[in-house]
């Protein structure tokens, strides 16, 4: 099937059909999770760009943008960025790791919201 293209809109949909699955009994928390993850992705994009700008600025002076687009990372720089990226992810998600005392308190609070009916699935 061919879909007629409206040039003012993206041709290919960005979202899947059907309702999004909900994992939390607390209203809004699923959406909040999405926001946090998207925010983290954007933060990474900015951090990486800043990193590249800093590397490019040294030898190239003022005209940075074309040099950033074509900059080739060395193996050490790739490793440094990989480490930095993994740290960023771990840091943003640290609130759900915690120690046992903290977990217990939060879990009790979660359970007090009642039965997890939002997790019911049709088998």
């Amino acid at each position: 099937m061919r879909v007629q293209h409206d040039p003012s809109r993206p041709r290919i949909p960005r979202s899947h059909r059907g309702t999004r699955h909900r994992f939390f009994p607390v209203a809004g928390l699923d959406e909040m999770m999405s926001m946090i993850l998207e925010l983290t992705a954007e933060l990474w994009v900015v951090r990486k760009r800043l990193y590249l700008l800093e590397r490019v600025a040294g030898p190239a002076g003022a005209s940075l943008t074309p040099n950033v687009e074509g900059y080739e990372l060395s193996a050490d720089e790739v490793a440094e960025l990989e480490h930095s990226r993994r740290e960023l992810i771990a840091n943003v998600l640290r609130s759900i790791e915690g120690d046992q005392t903290e977990r217990k308190g939060v879990r009790q609070e979660m359970e007090n919201f009642g039965a997890p009916d939002t997790m019911t699935v049709t088998k």
């Binding site: 290919i12 949909p13 899947h16 992705a41 990486k48 790739v78 990226r85 992810i89 879990r107």
Partner: protein
């Protein structure tokens, strides 16, 4: 670091687009490595003991583990983050495909490879009516004439999804099983090989590389992915034929192939279609030919927790037939299609392109003539991944 695809249909994302894809790949790595380990620890330390106190026994299957885990805070976070990451895979890829659509289609038209369309073929409901894997537009939508965007979305998405754990060109499954066949049965020289449900041909081309004298054919119901597969194969200089065809209704004559292969295909099919495909595979195999499917391992031969872990996709990733397939007895599926029970074969193998050859050869030798042994590495995307495959030899011939 996320590697660009290595063929002529690869896209050129901007720095920001590339970095968004790189982030999603790392996020998935974190979920399936660190978070999956933490979630198992939660289960072992708290959920299972609580279940045993309440029931006087441990959970007997993945359903009971799933029920016990649903209220767990960590499971909610794991699932929510994994679900979002899956959506973000496509959101990181589709804008790049959309922006380059005309150029991409022009490149595919210029070097189309060997593509045989079937404009009258209906896309089956299990692809058309559901956005499989949460992929917007599923795997069949077309947005232009002779469009390959469905293939480009799949190819680029799985590259992000796999976080470099499924081969340089997301082709390790094909390499692993083609080389398994080459090493396990050195006297078996297939001349005609079929890959059913091949999508963009990731795991089809390794058969042509491993058995260069063979004629290799890939089929899939989606015109966009098969058209892309043919152009992709052309870019690699491999003479593989791709056809738009439904594996449950093959148009090939009886006894056409020495090998009928599939990878990660069966778990996307309703059970009736699996049975129909198996019957067709039996029909088109030559006597002495090999039927082989790389798949997720069967539930009844795994620890309940490992079964639960793999079945996540069935509930939350728009793959509704995934668990029903994994609940089957795979040997019985083969015998119901006509294969003899004593011709059933199965193996768990390490990844060929990540493993020293001597180690891979040893794994092949150890697998022969015995039942596959499963553990929590089997089918779990990680740096220690093991693939599972099963099938049967068709009676007759020399095998």
């Amino acid at each position: 670091m996320l590697k660009d695809l290595s063929h002529n249909l690869r896209l050129t994302p901007s720095q920001d687009e590339r970095n968004r894809q790189e982030f999603v790949a790392s996020l998935r790595h974190h979920i399936l490595d660190h978070m999956a380990t933490s979630m198992r620890n939660h289960y072992e330390q708290r959920v299972r003991p609580a279940f045993e106190r309440a029931n006087g026994r441990p959970p007997v299957d993945g359903n009971e583990v799933h029920d016990a885990m649903q209220a767990e805070r960590y499971f909610r976070f794991y699932s929510s983050i994994r679900y979002n990451a899956q959506e973000m895979v496509f959101r990181s890829v589709i804008p790049v495909v959309d922006r380059n659509l005309e150029q991409l289609n022009a490149r595919a038209r210029a070097e189309p490879g060997n593509f045989i369309p079937d404009p009258d073929l209906a896309v089956p409901a299990n692809v058309a009516n559901i956005d499989v894997h949460l992929s917007p537009g599923s795997y069949h939508s077309e947005y232009d004439v002779d469009d390959v965007s469905a293939g480009a979305i799949y190819d680029n998405s799985i590259n992000v999804f796999a976080f470099s754990q499924m081969g340089r060109d997301v082709d390790d499954v094909g390499h692993s099983f083609a080389n398994y066949v080459r090493l396990a049965w050195p006297d078996f020289k297939p001349a005609d090989i079929l890959d059913a449900g091949c999508t963009v041909g990731h795991n089809t081309l390794p058969w042509a590389k491993t058995f260069p004298a063979a004629a290799v054919t890939g089929i899939d119901v989606s015109p966009g992915v098969v058209r892309y597969a043919a152009a992709r194969a052309c870019s690699f200089g491999l003479p593989v034929r791709f056809m738009q065809m439904n594996a449950t209704q093959l148009s090939f004559p009886d006894e056409s192939f020495d090998v009928v292969f599939s990878s990660m295909f069966l778990h996307e099919l309703p059970l009736r279609d699996i049975r129909a495909y198996f019957r067709e595979a039996f029909r088109v195999l030559k006597p002495g030919g090999l039927f082989l499917n790389m798949e997720l391992p069967p539930n009844d031969r795994m620890e309940p927790y490992d079964g639960f872990y793999l079945d996540w996709d069935s509930y939350y990733n728009k793959e509704p037939w995934y668990k029903r397939f994994r609940d089957q007895n795979f040997r019985q599926l083969c015998t119901a299609a006509g294969f003899a029970g004593d011709r059933f074969v199965e193996a768990v193998v390490p990844r060929y392109t990540y493993t020293p050859l001597a180690e891979f050869e040893a794994a092949v030798r150890q697998s022969l003539g015995r039942d596959a042994q499963f553990d929590n590495r089997t089918g779990r995307l990680s740096e220690d991944l093991r693939w599972y495959g099963f099938g049967a030899w068709k009676q007759g011939g020399k095998s």
